[in-house]
Symmetry: C2
């Protein structure tokens, strides 16, 4: 373990490390991402902060987090902005690597990363210059299926 490079993983310093301004709200927001460990929509965030924070601030914070490789967009059936933490050193400010499908639950609207489901090889795509794949499955997650 290198004690210099990546030892202090306390959440507060993550912002500074990524080059994001360490404001009161942003610190709490990154904390929320780490503690909830699920994808978050703007609405989730506004509710969590009891609407004490302006939605513009939320939007701008999310864009900043995304640009600095801290979070990434995940698909959502309702076409709203939804973000997940970037994990496993997959992402950087330069490029996000999310080469896996997503599952969206109709009931709880949660988005799950399907790490096991990789994209198909680029086949029978003649005539198309493919830049990006998106694979999403929709249905009910284990938790919601019970009820």
């Amino acid at each position: 373990m290198n004690s210099k490079t990546h030892n202090h993983l306390d959440i507060g310093s993550i912002l500074s490390e990524k080059g994001i301004s360490r404001t009161n709200f942003r610190t709490k927001l990154v904390n929320y991402f780490y503690s909830s460990n699920k994808s978050l929509s703007v609405d989730d965030i506004l509710k969590y902060f009891n609407n004490s924070i302006n939605k513009v601030t939320v939007y701008r914070s999310l864009v900043s987090f995304e640009n600095n490789g801290l979070i990434h967009k995940v698909p959502d059936t309702n076409n709203l902005m939804r973000y997940s933490l970037c994990r496993k050193e997959e992402c950087s400010p330069i490029s996000h690597n999310h080469n896996h499908g997503h599952f969206i639950c109709y009931s709880c609207n949660q988005t799950f990363c399907l790490e096991g489901v990789k994209y198909p090889e680029i086949i029978s795509m003649k005539g198309f210059y493919v830049k990006e794949f998106k694979l999403t499955a929709e249905g009910y997650c284990k938790e919601c299926y019970k009820n």
Copy 2:
């Protein structure tokens, strides 16, 4: 060829066959779908009719067409409503069968059906009750790549 069941494929009668009211506008709209032979957004349609038609009418017509198995939604990178004709007896009012991926061009925003790209088998989805798959590829189509 059975002359009774499906002979008169003139576009005008398609609406009646599907149980959709045969109004002036709807006849022109289904004609536009058949003649352009590509996916259409609400904006495409409004422009085609030089904004002489009310957008509400467009939205309601599209919903009606969809409910009667004439057209189906296709994905769009800009998250707007976009529709394609249902072809090859794939669709009915009861169920739409579009078990294939789609390609969306960044440049012309056109959505293409990738008939050759079927969805992966339901694998490694443990804990998820999958109802629907969506596979989209994005990039540049042949036409736009040239320029």
